[in-house]
Symmetry: C2
DNA sequence: AGCTACTATCGTCGATTAGCGATGACTAAG
DNA sequence: CTTAGTCATCGCTAATCGACGATAGTAGCT
């Protein structure tokens, strides 16, 4: 198996619990950052696409959205910087997938409102 | 009891269930709008304040935040336009409180990710 | 009426965002 | 080495955001 297996895309990490507090100044900042990243229809759509495909996608996202490739790339960058998605280089293309940990964290923070 | 009872602040409405779908184009827009409103630390703080007080507050919010009165008023406007809070005029001051319906809706949409 | 207190709105300024086309970087294939 | 394909980055423009001081509006007091 010299060639990287296509199944190694986004292996789920050891499912670690999040011990950080759900409120307080830091939590406020964190929630605001995450919410801000989600605060755009195109980015919500991207998250939904990644969730539906259960695995990763790459530039197919561009085909699904009515936006230029550079714009989509920007949105992906925002989501990545917020920690909500991860991008793994797979040959000439990049494979994006959800970061379940961050998503759970976001849900926990929102649930704590 | 000629003076308006302080308990009349924000009576909880009949606790109606939300029948709108949790995904689709409209849901995406809605989630993005709500998330955008929450996407600022000051607004998260305001929501937390309102939640803690269980009831409404007014300009005490200004005292709690390190921001000018006009800035706080702007943030309140954003939250109000997103439907997350409600403001009732109570004499010379305004009493803000959470809109539980919108908050539940937000949690449902986020949970659906 | 006049005054005071509280809040909303206006106008402004700098910073950020969203969108795009063009260009650059990188990989795989020829 | 060259070419083609994929994605990120750059540069730019228009629009929006965040913050503020100043101003206007409204309710209660004297």
């Amino acid at each position: 198996m010299t060639k990287a297996s296509a199944n190694e895309h986004c292996g789920a990490p050891p499912e670690q619990a999040d011990l950080r507090p759900i409120e307080g100044a830091e939590a406020d900042e964190e929630l605001a950052t995450l919410a801000k990243a989600v605060g755009h229809p195109a980015r919500v759509q991207i998250l939904r696409l990644l969730a539906r495909k259960t695995a990763c996608i790459c530039g197919d996202i561009v085909d699904e959205l009515p936006l230029a490739q550079s714009t989509v790339s920007q949105h992906l960058k925002v989501l990545k910087e917020a920690g909500l998605i991860r991008g793994e280089v797979d040959g000439p293309r990049v494979c994006y997938c959800l970061e379940p940990r961050a998503l759970r964290r976001f849900k926990a923070l929102v649930g704590g409102l």
